[in-house]
Symmetry: C2
Subunit: 933 residues, 2 copies
């Protein structure tokens, strides 16, 4: 152990500095750095996180010499403040606060006014200090100390206060008379004593009690659970900050407040915050008095009017801190008798748009460079900016009209409006006649169908990893969980909230990005960013920054980004959002078109070869037109076209009645149609006759599709366009499947190019989605120009999880930590990752120029993209609307690798943890912003 455990700060200097977050905690480091900068900080000292680690490892004892160091620093503090601990005439009062390198709920937070005692209060009163102020400070100390140090239930104190208010006929605590407060203090001391030990009258004993409580709280279940969820590892412990008290509640020349150096919601460069005159910090939070804005946008009076000097100083300090820390800061301050004191500074949480705008503008201001800016924005924050949003005017009106009903955890971003259903069954029924919001106390696997049917999901219980949250994110639906104010009574068919009663069928709205539940319907629309990029709308500063940031990302990333798109419209959107080609064009989606499905069914139900061929020849020109359209939309970018993948029975109606109608339409015997449909039905369609198995057993379909692709390519090529089709065989598991289908494909390509007299490069490759394909990738690569990892199916088969069914246990698995995360959301590096890596290595060993990509849904997931960068894929392909997210994530992954080369390589676990907490960070950011605003 080092010999220094305690670091002083304040009075224009500090023993530590801002770089020592690990040792001093975030708060301690911030205080030290501010002291060094000459920012007015009430002096104090920090006991290091190493002491906490020692404390944990040595059953609650302290390292040798700590007591002496604390004594020395206390003496120095007394000297600096000119006050003495326990001095009845001018006592030193301190706050004791925890502070780890990362902020963490669950740890002991704060004990204020430490140093007061019966005799000191009495002495000060005797010296003429305001008795109400003193007793109020003392009862606060008793409450906080009793609660967090001595374990007396908080509500015991609440009850006594309530009784006192009742007796006096007061509404608020601050109305209590000194007489009432005397009774309260006496009662507080009594119940503390009853609970075990009387409140210690000796300030040093108070201090050591508070220090011990902070260290003990490091290891409490809530803090541990939080670290587990957030995958926080490698922290030594918490530091303890002991700081001399300043008071914002000693008169009208006092105030307390919080501020952000820029607007945390919009990113605007302007100090943003609020304050209360003659108040202590906790009064701001309690919300009894309405705080005032520091600098009202409407130009009204603010801090500058009330405290012109302090306001000027605050503005200057904010500017200085931001320049110094090179990031937007979140500060706390107190004005005591007109003098400004800074109590805390830290990086401010912010919304997605704010994060993007601040990062980009700070580059323009020369504060940070582009690479740093790229690291300042979480990909999930871009997702916020892309999610559908409410019409801002309508939402504003609804909230102004008092329609904001409740807030919860924002578990899935985006806005949705719909009629509420209180059971999954009702949701499924009601969905037929319009959008439905599913509202439940909590969801369970049995609700899965209803969740599919709903446009948004809302629960009163559960956290960010609850069943509802996990499933909703998997489905990409807006979701709010843990909205505790909702009283969901499915038996009565009623939702009670904010004193109102809603029945099934009543309309609600929810903002999954902000976690807000609003009465009535609100029109939703495309996000601003999409309106700017796709429709050319006038951009806000944040949207401008969005576009700029992605341009920078493009300059840094190695991975190319493609999109999954099946139509010319999707291809156009993907193009606009920066896709460098189509990584997955699913031809079966074209089969479901109204005009075609009849021919598709004819083909499937054909009883002889001639009928089948006839049906296929009707489909050929239609598919060809599809491809012509997509090729045109791509303007020369490559496109990977997957041959038919799903089993044929997916194209037949499920209901017997519909089958009869179909038979009539087609002039076939109904019994024959039914028999054929039964024959085609499968016990496990996921593992049945689909993909290349169809290509081999019913070759006509693939032959038709290949012909359509090549003919379409020829048409566009003759029109002078560049076309770069890549024909992809799905579900290959054996070398022979690839050999045969490559042969079949190549033959048709050659024949048609010969007929057309054209020379086009058309690649032929395969998906790697069957585990066996990864194992024999070296051999498959002999016959494939490219591999595209189908990580959806690869995950399904390697885990043995059907996506359609895993909703019954996956959320529980994630909640109970059987799985660290949903492997369909972020790739399972430990297991599936082995197969991906193996297939890359073996494939490239055979064919060094093998083109490697991924077209599963992991292609749009930042954590997965980091892994794909690591294994050296050439591109990722994701849904068009995730292309911007992938562009940023790919840049971050590339930058992380570049940094890694210069320092010890982090374990995958760490890397994953860093990336994985993106969503939670975003959530906390918004929650923080909401609280701040």
């Amino acid at each position: 152990m080092p010999s220094k455990y305690v670091y002083a700060f304040g009075a224009g200097s500090a023993e530590g500095d801002g770089s020592q977050k690990d040792l001093l905690g975030g708060k301690g480091a911030g205080l030290a750095e501010m002291s060094r900068l000459g920012v007015p900080v009430p002096p104090g000292f920090t006991i290091t996180t190493e002491v906490c680690a020692y404390f944990q490892e040595h059953a609650g004892s302290y390292p040798e010499g700590l007591d002496r160091e604390v004594d020395q620093h206390l003496a120095q503090l007394e000297e600096r403040t000119g006050q003495r601990f326990g001095d009845p005439n001018d006592p030193l009062l301190v706050s004791v606060r925890s502070g780890a390198a990362r902020s963490m709920p669950g740890m002991m937070d704060t004990v204020l006014n430490l140093g007061l005692s019966d005799s000191i209060v009495a002495a000060l009163v005797a010296r003429g200090v305001d008795e109400r102020f003193l007793l109020d400070a003392y009862r606060r100390l008793l409450t906080m100390y009793g609660d967090v140090v001595l374990g007396v239930p908080h509500h015991d104190f609440e009850r006594i206060l309530g009784d006192a208010r009742k007796r006096q006929g007061a509404t608020n605590d601050f109305e209590l008379t000194p007489e009432s407060l005397r009774g309260v203090v006496a009662d507080f001391k009594r119940i503390i004593a009853e609970h075990g030990k009387p409140f210690p009258q000796e300030p040093r004993e108070q201090l050591w009690g508070a220090i011990r409580a902070v260290f003990q709280s490091w290891n409490n279940p809530r803090a541990r659970e939080y670290m587990k969820i957030e995958k926080i590892t490698g922290l030594l412990g918490t530091a303890v900050n002991v700081q001399s008290m300043v008071f914002g509640n000693r008169g009208s020349d006092c105030a307390t407040g919080v501020a952000f150096t820029r607007n945390p919601a919009t990113g605007e460069r302007r100090v943003y915050g609020e304050y209360l005159t003659n108040a202590q910090g906790e009064d701001v939070v309690a919300g009894i008095r309405t705080p005032r804005e520091i600098a009202p946008v409407d130009g009204g009076a603010g801090l500058g009017a009330d405290f012109p000097e302090a306001h000027r100083e605050l503005e200057a300090i904010c500017a200085r801190l931001e320049r110094h820390f090179r990031d937007m800061q979140d500060v706390e301050f107190t004005i005591q008798h007109g003098k400004l004191f800074m109590l805390q500074t830290r990086s401010g949480k912010r919304t997605g748009p704010a994060a993007v705008r601040i990062a980009v503008e700070m580059v323009e201001e020369g504060l940070i460079d582009q690479r740093e800016a790229l690291g300042r924005v979480q990909p999930a924050q871009l997702a916020q900016m892309l999610a559908p949003e409410f019409d801002a005017e309508q939402k504003k009106k609804a909230i102004a009209a008092g329609n904001l009903l409740a807030k919860g955890l924002p578990a899935g971003p985006g806005a949705a409006s719909g009629r509420i259903a209180l059971t999954a069954e009702r949701a499924a029924e009601m969905a037929a006649s319009g959008p439905v919001l599913l509202v439940r106390a909590e969801t369970s696997p049995e609700d899965i169908v209803g969740m599919h049917a709903s446009v948004g999901i809302l629960t009163s219980r559960g956290g960010m990893t609850s069943h509802a949250a996990v499933v909703a994110r998997g489905l990409g639906k807006p979701c709010i969980v843990g909205a505790g104010d909702l009283d969901v009574d499915e038996h009565a068919g009623e939702l009670r909230v904010a004193g109102k009663v809603f029945h099934e069928g009543d309309e609600l709205s929810m903002d999954g990005t902000a976690g807000e539940v609003i009465a009535g319907g609100i029109a939703t629309r495309q996000s601003e960013v999409l309106r700017v990029i796709l429709d050319g709308a006038e951009p806000s500063p944040a949207a401008k920054a969005f576009v700029k940031l992605l341009t920078w990302a493009d300059g840094e990333r190695r991975l190319r980004i493609r999109a999954n798109a099946d139509t010319p419209h999707d291809a156009t959107v993907a193009n606009a959002l920066g896709a460098q080609g189509i990584g997955l064009c699913r031809t079966e989606h074209m089969f479901f078109d109204d005009e075609r499905i009849a021919w598709v069914r004819q083909m499937i139900l054909a009883e002889d070869e001639a009928t089948r061929t006839a049906a296929l020849s009707r489909l050929l020109p239609m598919q060809q037109k599809d491809f012509e359209g997509i090729f045109a939309a791509l303007s020369g970018l490559p496109i990977t076209i997957r041959l038919l993948d799903p089993p044929l029975h997916e194209f037949l109606p499920k209901e017997e009645k519909a089958l009869r109608v179909l038979a009539e339409q087609m002039g076939i015997d109904a019994a024959a149609v039914k028999a054929r449909a039964e024959v085609l039905a499968e016990a496990n369609p996921m593992l049945g006759l689909r993909g290349c198995r169809l290509g081999i057993t019913v070759p006509g379909i693939y032959e038709m599709q290949v012909e359509a692709i090549v003919r379409a390519a020829c048409v566009r090529a003759k029109a002078g366009e560049r076309v770069r089709p890549e024909i992809m065989v799905p579900l290959v598991g054996t070398v022979q499947e690839m050999v045969r289908l490559r042969e079949m494909t190549a033959k048709i390509v050659k024949r048609i190019l010969n007929e057309e007299g054209l020379q086009l490069e058309i690649l032929i490759g395969t998906m790697i989605e069957v585990p066996r394909a990864a194992l024999v990738a070296d051999k498959i690569a002999e016959h494939a120009d490219f591999f595209s990892f189908g990580t959806n199916d690869l995950t399904q088969m390697t885990y043995g999880y059907s996506r359609d069914d895993a909703g019954r246990f996956l959320p529980l698995y994630v909640e109970q930590k059987v799985l660290p995360w949903d492997p369909f959301q972020s790739i399972d590096v430990e297991g599936i990752g082995q197969l991906v890596r193996l297939a890359c290595e073996r494939g490239r060993a055979t064919r060094p120029d093998l083109h490697l990509g991924i077209c599963g849904e992991h292609g749009g997931d930042p954590q997965s993209i980091d892994f794909f960068e690591e294994v050296g894929l050439d591109y990722v392909s994701c849904s068009p609307y995730r292309v911007p997210i992938a562009r940023l994530a790919a840049a971050q992954a590339a930058l992380a690798r570049r940094t890694v080369e210069q320092r010890p390589k982090p374990s995958i676990a760490t890397a994953v943890a860093a990336a994985g907490s993106a969503l939670a960070e975003a959530v906390a950011s918004i929650a923080g912003a909401a609280k701040a605003v």
Copy 2:
């Protein structure tokens, strides 16, 4: 190339010997060895397989010097026989035959009487040689030469012969007068000439023409296909045998015949065969005259009566050949004017019982040692001896009554009787009211349900790898394919065969081991071997040999053999058949018992915890009783008990009506039951909520099962028995699943053992059946005492094949060689094998004493067992009736490894080919025996 291409034989010596099969082919090596032994062999010479290889590689030209060598050997042959090629007075006549190291259908077979010509026939007639004999020999030469050398269609010759018979009013060819034969010869020569080239009159030209035809036939499609199917690799080519003619048809002192040195059907040690007086070899095959037995069992007159001298000599030669070759021989002989000539000797094909009896008796006779005996029996031959068989008396009577309708390829062993159905749909319908045989021209994927419903499958078309054959073997059902005499008319609902007409519902019988289709029903019964072992029936010599052979196998094998058994009865059977424990006891089978299913359903449908717990507590004592019974039956052997594996919906009725009845019985609302059933239904049950996923989400079931196991173990232990339960968690894919379920299991085990005051060793392990489990086996092994490979599921998931659905494409895949074999029958070493090997290595790296076994159906497959020996598993577990097969296969695998250590390691492909042809060998063996008998 070496300088020697031609090897002489005959006259008591030979240039080559029996060890040179690769160089001289099987036939040539046999002839050389017989010559060296002093056995009377018509002299001749063999052109080596190396010449064939040269011929193939050099576009049909011969190596330098071959013509000279052939000339030299021809001159020597002339000297030895005292005859000359083309000599009109005493011409040398030869046969030309192909002969590779392995016999192979499709290659050119035989040209006899080569050396005859117009002028020679005329000269001999002039010298008084029987003209009819000469013309008959000449027309045979013209037919064979025209057909196989000159490519004239065989039926052209048949037509001319037919016309000649008609003109003369004769029924058989041998009635044709010299005059008629003269016309036939003239017509034969005419059509040969019309076809391109006239028949060569020069004997040397005839000879080189025949040699070329043999070499060319090596590469014809039929021969190549056969090699592909039989996985024959590494052969250089075929040899050509040129041998002086002897004639069995030159008078009543001549004869021709075939013999086995022991009975190829029963293995009895007694020369067995048949002969025809005054006949040539092909007359025996043609079946116009009935051959006579060499030594009739009833003691009647045989060869000894007709040719006492030749018979004695044949007996002596057979004994000598068998001693020399140390195996049962299949010989061909000709008696010319009383003198015996041997034309061929080779290892004789034999039935399963014969193979076992011969191998064991040869050890007892000191001819071979035990290890050699173990190599002489194919595991599939044991399968024949274990398959159900017809009551021998009844079958004999049926055949004697002329009820044998047709023969086909024996694609699946065993006997079956039932009413015939001509479509799969009818089969499925009829199956409800008794056993059904499905009879089709050929089957297709759409017939799969009907195939499941039938007790046997019979087709008129297709080969050993046709859809019907592959599916039937997969289902373990008797099957005959390619029974070409069957005329299946599904539209008329008729089966026409042997002049009879059968309608759907008529009764037929089929012997899948022999390939026989028989009219009417025949009682089937357990095989003799099982009656001996299980019921103590009096053993036949073959059954005695069966038991002895397996005892020897036990002495050689390293792998232990366990059985999959769910009931005390199964456990008893497994014990009797030599199982060393139970490798898989499926607890869910117990759930289907009539008495329990109601409680199981109660448990599943429970709407609250109390109801579920109540149902489980009713099931507990029942499961405990099951385990007590199985423990008792095992008498101290270990048993691996798998906790519940299938999804819960498997225990609910499928039909809505049955659900309603269930709801009534249980006093639950029908709608609620239906809703619950719908909630439980899965899109892909194979990949759904089952196995350990149930154990984690619905822990009560596993807790009950573990308690039942431990309580049962305690009961038996207190009764003084040794109990060795091993609790197996199914479907583990992640380490955490294993951690949690091991913890849960260990806790219950500890609690109950404490309660009972007992100390029992109870292992806790897992199946490796999810691909991911193999990938993280190192980590899983930290928490598992054993691994048992579930290769069924591992194959399903790694290939992405659902066994229930793969019937639609797997047979086609096997037929078209997309897959080398059905991976559910024999393990896919290339793909799945990688995962098995990986899991073994990683598991043992973590825990060197990790116990490794396999309990998928591959556990009873010889080819797979060879692989499991290679990767070093501790045991294989298979169905009780396959335990004997596994014992032999394990011994063979162990012996192969011991041999391998002394010589270059064979490639897996070779090893697999050797094992893989077992079934085809058995088939050919029976077909051969049938032909011989």
